[in-house]
């Protein structure tokens, strides 16, 4: 007994009245991605009203000499790093440090090159009017995410809710565009130093999945900011993250698997229209020996068959 498919894709809802974004990576210049022609399982979001692109896959390759040269440079630098890193130790750190690490700073905002690890996206892709920008803070010491939220839904007949802004980290890449993952198995808490304006944000962690159905699986938790001129240290144990798929919290929950973490993101979707800002100092993971909880939600099967 399945409910017929409801076409309100972008009106993804979370059970705590937050809006969740569609997981799309965009360049900071926010150009809408053309929808691919053959999408097996609802691959990319097709904005209602946009015609289907009738390009063959080989027509989409863009040949450019300069881009090629840059690509070669980048890839060979990465290859060199990969070759010489194991001489120092696993993952470029000495063995003892790798084994006994208690705290690791994963992302910090020092200087404009740290902005390249992040991408922002907002309502605008589905036709809304929210804006979001990311820049380095004063003295090049923090990351400053700011913009305006507007929850008027786009008038395309399909979307019912709107108004979200997100910032998401890019996938780590090894040489020659291979995916690399974060390995956080020896840690159990996420530690952030942020300064918000009192709005509640949502932290989303995307892990590497095997099946294509799991593509939009995200592990979420809330980030409540206090506002004010003082920095706020937020410690969230990984056992608190709950599983959502396309913004809807799932029935079958399980703790997040930390061995192949791909991305982390911050979403704002509280329905308060107006400007917002969030300053981030660093994002790190740490091991809290006092935290022994394995998972915060029940693991039993909640929808047993009739």
């Amino acid at each position: 007994m399945s409910l017929p498919k409801i076409t309100h894709l972008p009106s993804a809802r979370l059970l705590t009245s937050f809006h969740q974004h569609r997981q799309q990576l965009l360049h900071p210049s926010i150009a809408p991605l053309p929808a691919p022609r053959r999408a097996v399982i609802q691959g990319q979001y097709r904005r209602p009203g946009q015609p289907k692109e009738n390009k063959y896959p080989w027509q989409k390759i863009n040949f450019n000499f300069l881009k090629g040269v840059e690509g070669i440079k980048k890839n060979f630098m990465l290859l060199k790093k990969e070759f010489f890193d194991p001489w120092v130790g696993p993952e470029g750190k000495p063995v003892l440090e790798h084994m006994l690490e208690q705290n690791r700073v994963v992302w910090e905002f020092r200087g404009p090159e740290s902005l390249e690890q992040w991408t922002v996206s907002s309502d605008r892709e589905i036709g809304g009017q929210s804006e979001v920008y990311l820049k380095v803070g004063k003295n090049n010491n923090t990351g400053f995410l700011y913009g305006t939220l507007s929850s008027t839904p786009p008038r395309d007949g399909e979307t019912r809710y709107s108004g979200y802004c997100t910032m998401r980290s890019r996938q780590l890449m090894a040489s020659f565009n291979r995916k690399k993952h974060h390995d956080w198995t020896s840690f159990n808490t996420l530690h952030l130093r942020v300064r918000g304006d009192g709005r509640p944000w949502m932290i989303t962690i995307g892990t590497e999945t095997y099946f294509s159905h799991q593509k939009d699986d995200m592990y979420n938790y809330f980030l409540y900011t206090r506002g004010g001129p003082y920095w706020q240290d937020v410690k969230i144990p990984f056992s608190k993250f709950f599983l959502t798929h396309r913004g809807r919290i799932q029935d079958n929950q399980h703790p997040i698997w930390l061995d192949k973490v791909n991305t982390i993101g911050f979403t704002l979707g509280d329905k308060a229209d107006g400007p917002f800002q969030l300053e981030i100092d660093y994002i790190g993971v740490c091991k809290d020996y006092a935290h022994t909880e394995e998972f915060a939600y029940e693991l039993y099967k909640r929808n047993p068959e009739v």
Partner: protein, 409 residues
């Protein structure tokens, strides 16, 4: 009213509905094809309250025992709820659920259970619950009873209700800085509440420097005097007392603070961080705490496995000395705040104060690189506010609100 949907209208199980029923309230009996939005729009000319909303729902319920078109009516009602201001009212949702005819949509055998019995009505029920979830309304036992009566136990709306009842209690009290549902209306109370929230210190004291009032001057103009509420904690007073009088302090603002949907603005008084060479490390006073020694001179080594701090350089942005909230953020009001602060911090009389007031996405300004070149020499003399003449007149330079240099929106 329990009645089989599919029984023939010929058998007179109940009285036929009197035709003049719908003519109550003087509303015209419209036989053309109208959507149910119309009912609400006709009421829209009157005051939109919960009572009128309930009246419209009652009207619909009484109009037809079979509740023809109840799905469209419920969708229209859900859309109109925010206009009537009842979107957070559980009683109204229960009443709206009551519109569904009972026991008709409950599946009676395994085939009906298999094939998504009455899908449109189930979808409508799910949408109703979704709007409840959207506005954070917690359903109660009456909702559950209604859902069981209408859809049965294994239906989609019932599943949605179970999910709400599972997750809502878990997420309700997660906010470490909770905001009450009813914010205080009085601006002074709201300001003191939000200042205690951002102060980060339990000992911080809120002082109201000025209460709001509207005055009418002799020339007949109305002048509104804004409220000024400030906050300062004892440690901030100490820090300000140790501040070097030759360094300026900055009044920055307005910074936004959101409380649920409401945005308030606050201003801060801060100074630049002391450069490393001027930092004086005061030795711990052993008599400050007699229970245990504050400084231990042990020669213990910490191993790699005991490292508890992150490998990031500490951001020093300078101390914040006080915060305030006011409805009008111009220099005159802020000067009043500074003079009010001066009673507790006499050093403010000698320290030059710079005002950096600009709108736009706000961050604490950095160090000296942000000095703008817009210094008006003689103009500022006329706009300068002199403090009380007893103290040494200090230089209050004014930086006019800087035009955005491409950094802000």
């Amino acid at each position: 009213v329990l009645r089989r949907f599919h029984s023939s209208p010929v058998c007179p199980k109940s009285r036929p509905v009197p035709t003049e029923f719908t003519n109550q309230d003087g509303k015209k009996r419209d036989t053309s094809l109208v959507t149910h939005d119309d009912l609400f729009e006709r009421v829209a000319q009157d005051v939109k309250t919960k009572a009128t909303f309930n009246k419209v729902v009652d009207l619909f319920i009484k109009a037809d025992v079979r509740r023809r078109g109840h799905v469209e009516f419920i969708y229209a009602a859900l859309k109109k709820m925010p206009e009537f201001g009842v979107e957070r009212d559980l009683a109204v949702y229960n009443k709206l659920l009551d519109v569904f005819p009972k026991e008709v949509f409950v599946p009676r055998n395994f085939i009906q259970r298999m094939f998504n019995h009455y899908p449109r009505q189930q979808e409508c029920g799910v949408q109703l619950l979704e709007q409840m979830e959207n506005y954070g309304v917690m359903p109660n036992i009456e909702t559950k009873v209604l859902l069981v009566q209408i859809f049965g136990e294994k239906s989609h709306p019932m599943r949605k209700y179970q999910r709400i009842m599972y997750w809502f209690p878990r997420f309700k009290h997660l906010n470490p800085f909770p905001i009450p549902k009813e914010l205080p209306e009085d601006p002074v109370d709201l300001a003191s509440f939000s200042l205690t929230r951002i102060a980060n210190d339990r000992d911080a004291k809120v002082t109201v420097y000025q209460l709001p009032c509207t005055d009418i001057t002799e020339s007949g103009e109305e002048i509104t005097i804004p409220h000024i509420v400030g906050i300062q904690s004892p440690s901030q007073i100490e820090q300000l007392a140790q501040h070097n009088p030759s360094r300026p302090v900055f009044v920055e603002g307005p910074f936004p603070l959101y409380l649920r949907k409401k945005c308030v603005y606050y201003y801060i008084l801060r100074a630049d961080p002391i450069p490393a060479d001027e930092k004086v490390e005061e030795p711990y006073d052993p008599e400050r705490c007699l229970d245990y020694p504050l400084q231990l001179d042990l020669d213990l080594d910490r191993d790699l496995g005991d490292e508890e701090s992150f490998d990031v350089e500490d951001l020093d942005e300078g101390p914040v000395f006080a915060m305030c909230m006011t409805s009008q953020g111009d220099q005159a009001t802020l000067n009043q705040w500074i003079s009010g602060l001066q009673q507790n911090n006499p050093v403010l009389g000698q320290v030059p104060t710079l005002f950096r007031l600009e709108a736009g996405p706000k961050e604490l300004q950095g160090t000296a690189e942000t000095e703008s070149g817009h210094h008006y020499g003689s103009d500022s003399a006329t706009q300068r506010e002199e403090r009380q003449p007893e103290e040494n007149p200090d230089i209050i330079t004014e930086e006019e609100p800087r035009r955005s240099q491409g950094m802000k929106l």
